[in-house]
Symmetry: C2
Subunit: 213 residues, 2 copies
DNA sequence: GATAATATATAGACCAGTTGGTATAATAGC
DNA sequence: GCTATTATACCAACTGGTCTATATATTATC
């Protein structure tokens, strides 16, 4: 039982990621999920807004899990965060540059429209931010700097996804990963560590012939 | 004559910035602009898509002008770019955190939906990117690094706007400005310049008591 | 310089299709 | 028999878009 509920949530997550809030119709959701409208309003009496909120929270938790897992696995914050951003780049590329930022579009669309959804997105971003912040602090970055750097990471990640989708290329996120990695290495272990980051030499060979703008 | 055309474009820019593409109806645009539907389809036979494209190009040029003016006025790239981001933060704050990224929402909404609008956004972002890239290169950043840093700047700027709007606070953009300024100073004039950037000391006093997540 | 002819532009009624949402009836599982 | 769930029919409001009638300039003709 309640399998229809899960289906509804799953489908909603995918469509929101692909099209955003206003372009995704309730009828489209029920068509894609198989469950009829009766079930939708049975499980989500609050209608589209409530369904969206639960879908965002669901996908927000999943992404938080991925962030934490990845950051725990890799050692120094610079490599860990750079690696995570490249992982996101891979996902965006795999979707044909049609998806990959499951919160972003909805967050922008509803920030001025629905206080409920705005707060929901704010909570999710705060949780992601905190995961980055903790990793940075544990890796030797001064606490105030860690918060600042976590914000830069989150902003550049979301902005990088936007650029990748508009350019149909993973290049922006790769560049973001590279630049952030340099900065974090510099700020966590002192100036010496940033002089020649390990990942750059082999990466730049394969990418340098692309257009420069 | 053609005053109605300008009105239409102006109104469309504002509504797109506020609500995005799909939430902004043609009827809403004509209501807000005063011009009737007949005029809309007279000036923009291509309908909503064409009107949107011209509106985006219009606002894209305006923003490009602001970027270039600001970057030309301030000397070192680190200060110039940091300052510009703080300028954007001011605008977002002044709108009550309801607007400030006139391209972003539409870019995300239409990246997978309208090739025409996707290309339009791609062109605009390319022009902005190039303005940052040139400034960085002129300021002493190695050419390959300049392209990378310009991407980080653009991504963090757009992502920062997103975070400010969801949090109803200019803090994210201020943090982005601070972190970027440090990084650019470090990469443009060598390691020594980043050790104690001038803008930090006085800025941090007034902001440090805010919440850290 | 008055008037007719012609673009230019405005006005809004109208369209089929869709939106989010409600109602009620049928059906399953215990 | 009773609750939990599903299945539709239906709703007013709105969507982007088309169409034709009208007004307002601009230009050409006498």
């Amino acid at each position: 039982m309640a399998a229809a509920r899960d289906q509804l949530l799953q489908t909603t997550c995918e469509l929101l990621d692909l099209q955003g809030y206003y372009a995704t119709g309730l009828n489209e959701i029920i068509r894609a999920s198989g469950s009829p409208k009766g079930s939708l309003y049975y499980y989500f009496p609050g209608g589209k807004e409530e369904l969206t909120e639960e879908a965002l929270e669901h996908v927000g938790r999943i992404v938080l899990g991925r962030i934490e897992t990845h950051l725990r696995a890799v050692g120094p914050p610079s490599d860990a965060i750079g690696g995570f951003i490249r992982l996101v780049a891979e996902n965006v590329e795999a979707s044909g540059y049609k998806a990959g930022g499951p919160i972003t579009t909805v967050a922008l669309e509803t920030a001025a429209t629905s206080e409920r959804l705005r707060c929901c997105c704010e909570r999710i971003y705060a949780a992601w931010h905190d995961a980055f912040r903790r990793k940075l602090a544990e890796g030797g970055v001064r606490p105030e700097r860690a918060a600042e750097l976590a914000t830069l990471t989150l902003a550049a990640l979301e902005g990088g996804i936007l650029l990748c989708r508009t350019q149909r290329s993973r290049r922006p996120l790769d560049q973001v990963a590279g630049a952030l990695q340099t900065l974090i290495a510099y700020l966590s272990t002192g100036a010496a560590a940033a002089r020649q980051p390990a990942h750059r030499r082999k990466r730049e060979q394969g990418e340098q012939r692309a257009k420069s703008e």
